[in-house]
């Protein structure tokens, strides 16, 4: 008996490869999953880089609100000095510097701040990736929450997040994922996120997604250089300060990136200068991955059909040659 390529390919096609091939090449429309929308009652933050003075009050407030330890990365033993998000740090203010650093919020010979933290994506990669539902976005506020009691520590969320947010703790035998959860414990108590609470300039502002939307529109309509009012803590706190309107770049970070995020950034400096990924498509990676999975395994239909074929073939085959004679 010989096996020629045609035989083999025919057999293989009727068997395993078919599952993957058919479904991958022609995902059924019914199963395709689009981006998840921003939840109706979503809340979020607006971080306006042009208002940020780099005081890092948000960083220390965040540590306090979330019982996070200090970390010393410069070896002086004096201050909490996180340089990046880490297993001990949910948010960090970073700085972009160029040339003489004379001009705030300018790319040329300037500098600008950026606040790194979880962006609370509309369709989060981390939630899609997590095999044990430890990352969830189920609540009405759309907060991406982490449950350490469910987590198995596989770090798929760390690998999947396009913004490099979730941080695993490599230095302990009982590690957790460290990630901003929008201070949901404070929200439950009727308070606002700690970072927004303490921000002296309103650079970090808390509000509903819709209210922040309006605020973004208002700021972008300002005439650069003219005096304007900026609220602190929340959009409607009434606590405002006056300042010359900055010159914003067109992009609002988080408006479209992987389907939008509930934490958004305004800036005078292009976002790639901060090391943020700026080539992200509008279609979420989570929706791509889940569409693929649904097409292949939706309702287990394809696997069951293939299994039936395989079992029938195996039955035919095993009649001819039992394990023993």
């Amino acid at each position: 008996m010989t096996i020629n390529r045609r035989d083999f390919l025919r057999g293989a096609a009727s068997g395993s490869a078919a599952v993957a091939a058919c479904a991958t090449l022609a995902p059924s429309r019914a199963e395709a999953r689009g981006n998840l929308p921003i939840p109706e009652n979503a809340v979020g933050l607006l971080y306006d880089s042009t208002l940020c003075i780099g005081c890092k009050a948000c960083m220390s407030a965040c540590k306090e609100a979330n019982d996070l330890p200090l970390e010393d990365n410069v070896g002086e033993g004096l201050w909490d000095t996180p340089l990046e998000l880490s297993g001990k740090t949910y948010t960090v203010i970073k700085i972009y510097q160029h040339g003489t650093m004379e001009h705030k919020d300018k790319a040329e010979n300037g500098f600008a701040h950026i606040k790194r933290q979880c962006l609370h994506c509309a369709d989060p990669s981390c939630v899609s990736a997590c095999p044990v539902s430890a990352m969830t976005k189920d609540g009405p506020l759309g907060i991406v929450e982490y449950n350490k009691d469910a987590c198995i520590g596989c770090r798929y969320c760390v690998a999947a997040c396009p913004f490099g947010v979730p941080q695993f703790q490599y230095d302990t035998p009982f590690p957790e994922i460290a990630k901003c959860q929008l201070c949901k414990h404070r929200l439950d108590d009727g308070k606002i996120p700690a970072c927004a609470e303490v921000c002296p300039t309103g650079a970090t502002l808390f509000g509903s997604y819709a209210a922040l939307d309006e605020e973004i529109t208002r700021r972008k309509a300002m005439t650069p250089g003219e005096a304007a009012l900026f609220p602190r803590r929340t959009v409607d706190s009434g606590d405002v300060h006056e300042k010359a309107a900055p010159e914003y770049i067109d992009d609002v970070y988080g408006d479209t990136e992987v389907g939008g995020t509930q934490v958004r950034y305004l800036s005078g400096v292009p976002f790639d200068k901060f090391g943020l990924p700026t080539d992200l498509p509008e279609r979420s990676f989570a929706s791509k991955s889940e569409t693929l999975q649904h097409s292949l395994y939706g309702g287990l239909a394809a696997p069951v059909v293939v299994l039936a074929g395989l079992v029938a073939a195996a039955w035919r085959g095993s009649k001819n040659h039992h394990d023993d004679e």
């Binding site: 096996i3 057999g11 993957a20 297993g87 044990v132 198995i152 703790q169 230095d171 035998p173």
Partner: protein, 401 residues
């Protein structure tokens, strides 16, 4: 035993060469002692890992959260363990009974590859005590690709043990149980082909959600198909490798297996051709052709992969080469190296989460992986010596070369 062989018995005898037999012999040899020592070293570092955390032993970090304990121990190791899958595919599903003698050795390697691959996941899980959540209703998240991988691998390990159990039952003299089991075995054989098809492709799908962090030469919706095709090829290549190594290591002669091996060589070339056409075609369709030459180190790695995949096709195109064990071995080796590189590239080289991060495994990290491989080889040696796994030899004992 009998000196006179009736013509009617010749066929029976020939059939008997193929009947699996235990090799026998002692277990202590320089080889097994070295393997044992490597396993001990691995256990030492594992102790540290569980006392101090992953960072004490490995170089994985938040830019490269998955190191060789995932990419080698699971993604690549289960690919190597696809021998059982590949042989079951041709033997039972495509109904090519001639390959039957190769099934059991292949299955044995798969058994250890997968069992250890599954177990080594626990080493890498930060919160390993929760591992059962992944299959537990209420926790399990079915949309997660990793759930699919975990579920299918767990099930497959069980199926492998069932498929393998006739060898035990035979050893234990439980003929009756064996007969009963063999009546329903076709079902498990079917499952044993379906499950690897699912999770080997899903190992590729794992990367889809990582999106733009994976370089366009590797990131594609065809990942599951490309991973599946290479996994099947890895299975076939491993069968050739295994047969060659068993021939050298245990001094067995391969005359009876060579014709099958040469056909397997042909299959590898066929599947690889399909793979290359799909992979390159997809790159063209996605308009990434230029990236092949303009991506620096990644381009180099990509081109090396291509060369390693193309070599077996060229080698196996000549009928004469397919009859020579050395050429078959070379083709299988090239294929395996290519597939290993493909996986390392896709998961580590092509993965870029932003500036400032890098990863190369630490020595202790590598020692653990080496220890796991050593444990696998050790278990294989013990098993083929004690259980009827390898095809019996026509002139026993022939291992006194």
């Amino acid at each position: 035993m009998s000196e006179v062989i009736l013509p009617s018995e010749v066929a029976k005898r020939q059939h008997h060469h193929h009947k699996p037999a235990a090799i026998g012999g002692g277990l202590i040899s320089p080889m097994t002692v070295v393997l044992g020592a490597l396993v001990a070293v691995a256990f030492f570092f594992l102790g540290q890992r569980f006392i101090y955390g992953l960072g004490a032993v490995t170089n994985v970090n938040n830019g490269y959260p998955w190191g060789i304990w995932v990419v080698w121990d699971v993604v690549i190791a289960t690919g190597f363990a696809c021998g059982g899958y590949a042989m079951a595919l041709v033997t039972y599903i495509l109904n090519k009974g001639e390959y039957h003698p190769l099934v059991r050795p292949a299955l044995t390697a798969s058994l250890f590859g997968y069992s250890l691959g599954g177990a080594s996941v626990l080493i890498d899980l930060g919160r390993y005590w929760n591992f059962w959540h992944i299959l537990w209703p209420g926790y399990a998240h079915v949309d997660s690709v990793m759930f699919e991988v975990a579920a299918c691998i767990s099930l497959y390990i069980i199926v492998l043990w069932i498929e393998f159990s006739p060898a035990f039952l035979e050893h234990l003299g439980l003929k009756d149980a064996k007969r009963k089991l063999s009546k329903v075995m076709f079902f498990f054989i079917g499952l044993g082909v379906l499950l690897p098809s699912m999770h080997q492709s899903s190992l590729g799908s794992l990367l889809v959600v990582m999106g733009a962090q994976v370089h366009p030469l590797w990131q594609t919706m065809l990942l599951p198909l490309l991973f599946l095709l290479t996994a099947a090829c890895m299975g076939f290549a491993v069968v050739i490798l295994e047969a060659t190594l068993a021939a050298v290591g245990f001094g067995r002669d391969l005359d009876h297996e060579l014709p099958m091996l040469s056909k397997i060589g042909k299959i590898i070339a066929g599947v690889l051709t399909v793979y290359l056409v799909l992979r390159l075609g997809d790159i063209v369709v996605r308009g990434q052709l230029g990236a092949i030459f303009t991506s620096g180190f990644k381009s180099v790695m990509f081109l090396i992969e291509m060369a390693l995949f193309a070599a077996p096709i060229v080698l196996m195109a000549k009928a004469a080469n397919r009859k020579r064990l050395s050429k078959l071995f070379a083709a299988a080796g090239s294929m395996l190296t290519g597939a290993v590189l493909y996986r390392i590239d896709a998961f580590l080289v092509a993965y870029d989460t932003g500036p400032g991060w890098n990863y190369f495994p630490s020595v202790p990290e590598m020692m653990v992986t080496i220890g796991i491989i050593a444990l696998e080889v050790l278990a294989y040696i013990v098993f083929v010596k004690k259980f009827p796994i390898l095809p019996g030899q026509p002139h026993q004992p022939s291992n006194g070369r």
